[in-house]
Symmetry: C2
């Protein structure tokens, strides 16, 4: 989840790398560093904090160079400080590495190296790796490229690395396993990065490095080799990312831009998929796999964080509309649980970035057990998109805000289309419901506009609760995952301890937390569990909790019971999470801004979690 | 979840009812009240607060009476205050009711009655019910018993009620639907109560009233009738509850008594179930149903609160040991989700009290869909035990502390026995693992003693964290539900906002909460995910979180990483939750005591949740 940038070519490397790091900062931002070649010497600067802190520390120093590497870090081993920041150097200071991922057997390697006299300046696994490569070179006399190959054979874990060596000033060496690495190809210049965002400004031609491959970049040449040293053909792809999509476009934060972008991103997720006067749904990416989905004995959704919440919403949708058994699993737990998987099972992996390490590993496990794997990702060509048998992209455009908003609503939109198409195919979905749902989906962008026009009201409520220490979010049925997602948003960006619960579970323990200091948010729209949720609201009010309720417009009853209501338009219950989540996103955003938090780069977090 | 007591006989009713209310206080305790007959007049006293507050308010008043009713309340409609306390009176003050449960259509009934001139003194649904009965008598001229019958036909909801009328001083009328009601039969005296605890001191002969039946108690006679007025034969059962089991036995709180009672209660749960030199497991209550369990296409566990956590542990056990597909559902969510259930599915309902309303309703739904239903309950003869096809009792003895401790470990013990027996039967469990697990289970009581001997150390750690505002509990695999359970205990009795998470999910959001003020508890015993959890600990320490780790005795590595460790003996991973949960129970207990909380009767909570 760290950010990696490398450059070799005819431009000034330093400003280019710094700009790239800023674009990547959503991946990690507790410390940053760069290394450049100057007069064939390695020059390294590292600093705890944001990329801007590094820039300030470097100041006006002359860093004229045509090659360099840079890194923005999300700490896994060792706390964020200058010493633990990347790049890390070998013992002889001639080799610099930047690394994204985790070396799981670093403790054993470190011990071995220490017994041979190696001394370490940081607590990181990455420094161990660069010393290990140095050690192999010294012991075997192999070329740097082959020393890297040998080292990586012994390393357990996930990584993307880029190396520079004083002995080869015009060369960058990169490798990956489990962590993404993109190589941009310009005219006589090469860009290396953990994703395409730092590259698109300069070139749209990219190569996605595959697991276990090693890339060697020299002036005017790129060579990629397999573990057995055979050379691989260069498979150049076009990135579709536009520069404006990764800039803020007038909004103070990416997150707000993305919340307000949902009418468009949801429409984009549906575009071209609903056909001929709402008569059919076509999901191109699933062609050839829809039969298996229809015959599935069980559908298992896997994901992490917000994507797991989208899976929970999908559970209600698929069970209700297509009458199929559904399970939803945390990817990490699924993976380590020795799950019972049959060849008739269909696993649907959900991941915005398509690089989530736990989800990727869970996919491999399910594949080995013979299940069919479908992907629901946003990032085209990502590792998960490539590891699955088939899938449907979100087409939501890049999401830069670390707290996911538009990716969540697009995930639910695409999963709803899949559930509706499946219900239609299996004959479990009556015609009128089918049409009601498709009409409902198509009205959603307009209805979300309506919710967004209400943002001042939500801001006011946010103002009142700026200094709350805790929050509880409650919902029933399809709104239970929305409660979880609302709580997660608030946690992520405001650092308020918020927790989501199924409303009926309150009585079984959590209600002990309720007193006049505890704000409780209910999703209490007019649907099948309306009466029950009204009872739950009364239980909380009887204990003097302060209640904010998301209600269907025109609701009169709940207004008389609670402290604040936020109205949203009515839509079919099964797709209503797409509306009810929006005020919760806004509420989290405003509370975090009013608390002075860095909304786009909340502490400790990284956008795409490529370590386990 | 309120407590109900009624008495009619030759003794002094007032002290007897007050003692009964105190025994029932674990069911609800935000207000209390009594009504007694004196000179054929109804005399009513009600008070916000505990039963002791009511007693103090009554003081030395002469309440000489041979019949009366009492109630301790857990608020559902209307906040806890004197007016909302039970008993409630009819408009003419001649009829008094005590009520446990919820009248769902009370708002409509209230409107109708108000339009006819009825005026209400409280916000409760119970007062509406007694006015409704009064209104029916006036309108129809029916007897009180028949007026009750007519009223209950129109009422939607769950209830247990007892009525007294000035017009019939020597008579109590009781009825139930969905909420338990026990009638104790002495010599020329009758006891009515929501469970047997207030009764066992006087008699062991009881009748459990069935749904929709009405009981009329007069001096020397008990008559039970069905909705169609036919008289039902009296089916008298023996209660096995001993008085000492419902008293504290030298411990300051029931909860501590129950935590320390776990070596015995777990042994009791296994007693007579492991046979002939560990060669077989016999669960008598499942005889005749074990084939269905072995042939199950899927096992669905349902429960609420702590019982749901036991189901989550069982998911790991049944999947790993018996290789069967397992789902775990919140009873409330399952019920309202239109779940896909097939006749080949086996539903296992988990409930300590056997009276949990949501679980009971979920059972009915699954039954209608043709599933086989098994119960895992503690309370013998409870509604759930009777509603299921077969089941296994916990035999853990009565649990009085509102926060469940020994019931949880006994649930996991019984579920482990079921999973092991099933794995043996299906041939999915190798002989050596089978024996290792049975030996492990039999060593558990001794190992728990060992953990309990460490309670001073846990108390010290509790002291350090007395004033924490928040806690996070993390575990992987089978310890993930233990993390949820540990967090729930702390929430329930200390009112600290504690939350459990699968450790790997931290990175996907909650880690934003981590700073030097956030205590994090890891369950980090030596098992299959040890290395992964060590990585998660390092991620938290890198952000300066304060870490308490539950580790396997002898662990050296984690000691060097974290702030505090609590050691537990090693046991087989699949049954290790039975050990790892114990220090978490103790930690919650000590923190709550040091914060001055009423551990046995935490605010807002009730022991057995008989409303939805």
């Amino acid at each position: 989840m760290c950010g990696i940038v490398g450059y070799l070519g005819r431009r000034e490397a330093y400003p280019l790398i710094m700009k790239g790091l800023k674009r990547l900062e959503y991946r990690g931002y507790d410390s940053a560093g760069i290394a450049v070649f100057q007069q064939n010497k390695l020059n390294v600067f590292k600093k705890k904090g944001k990329v801007a802190d590094l820039e300030q520390a470097i100041g006006a120093k002359d860093l004229n160079a045509q090659a360099g590497i840079g890194h923005t870090r999300w700490a896994t081993h060792g706390e964020p400080n200058d010493a633990n920041a990347h790049p890390h150097l070998s013992g002889d200071k001639k080799l610099a590495i930047i690394h994204n991922g985790i070396i799981e057997n670093y403790a054993a390697l470190k011990k071995r190296l220490e017994s041979k006299g190696h001394r370490f300046l940081s607590e990181t696994d990455s420094e161990v790796l660069v010393h290990f490569i140095e050690d192999i070179r010294q012991e075997t006399g192999e070329t740097l490229e082959d020393a890297v190959r040998i080292a990586l054979r012994e390393v357990v874990g996930a990584y993307a690395i880029v190396l520079m060596s004083e002995d080869h000033p015009g060369r960058l060496i990169a490798a990956r396993k489990g962590s993404p690495l993109v190589i941009g190809i310009g005219k006589d210049e090469y860009f290396l990065a953990s994703d395409a965002t730092p590259i698109v400004e300069y070139t749209k031609d990219v190569i996605y490095l595959n697991d276990l491959e090693i890339a060697v970049v020299t002036a005017g040449e790129l060579r990629i080799t397999a573990p057995d040293k055979t050379e691989k053909p260069l498979f150049i792809q076009k990135v579709e990312l536009e520069l404006e999509a990764i800039e803020k476009g007038g909004y103070p934060h990416f997150m707000l831009k993305e919340i307000f972008g949902q009418p468009k991103s949801i429409a984009d997720s549906m575009r071209g998929r609903i056909h001929a006067g709402n008569e059919s749904i076509q999901l191109g990416g699933l062609t050839g796999y829809f039969d298996r989905l229809a015959d599935a004995s069980r559908i298992i959704f896997i994901g992490c964080g917000t994507s797991w919440h989208a899976g929970l919403v999908a559970e209600y949708l698929f069970e209700e509309l297509a009458r199929v058994n559904v399970e939803v699993e945390y990817a990490s737990e699924f993976r380590y649980r020795n799950p019972v998987i049959h060849p008739g099972d269909v696993v649907i992996a959900i991941s915005q970035s398509g690089e989530t390490a736990d989800t990727l590993a869970a996919i491999e496990l399910a594949k080995e057990n013979g299940a069919t794997i479908l992907g629901v990702c946003n990032a085209v060509g990502s590792s998960i998109a490539r590891a699955t048998h088939a899938g449907a992209y979100l087409h939501a455009g890049p999401e830069i805000g670390v707290a996911s908003t538009k990716a969540f609503t697009s995930q639910v939109t695409v999963l709803a289309l899949m559930a509706i198409a499946l219900g239609r195919r299996k004959g479990t979905l009556p015609d009128h419901t089918f049409r009601e749902l498709l009409n409902g989906l198509q009205s959603l962008p307009g209805q979300i506009e309506q919710v967004l026009r209400n943002s001042d009201r939500i801001k006011e409520i946010g103002y009142i609760f700026t200094y709350a220490r805790n929050f509880i979010y409650l919902g029933r049925g399809v709104h239970f995952p929305v409660a979880l997602e609302g709580a997660l948003k608030l946690k992520e960006i405001s650092y308020i301890h918020a927790e989501g619960y199924p409303a009926a579970e309150m009585k079984h323990g959590p209600i002990a937390l309720i007193d006049e200091d505890m704000p409780v948010i209910f999703i209490a729209t007019r649907d099948s569990s309306y009466e029950k949720i009204v009872s739950n609201i009364q239980e909380v009010k009887a204990r003097k909790g302060r209640v904010i309720a998301i209600v269907t417009e025109g609701d009169q009853l709940i207004k008389t019971l609670v402290d604040f209501t936020i109205e949203i338009p009515w839509t079919h219950e099964m797709i209503s999470p797409l509306l009810s989540v929006v005020p919760l996103q806004l509420l989290s955003y405003y509370i975090a801004v009013m608390r002075g938090r860095n909304v786009d780069q909340p502490r400790n977090l990284a956008k795409s979690v490529t370590v386990e």
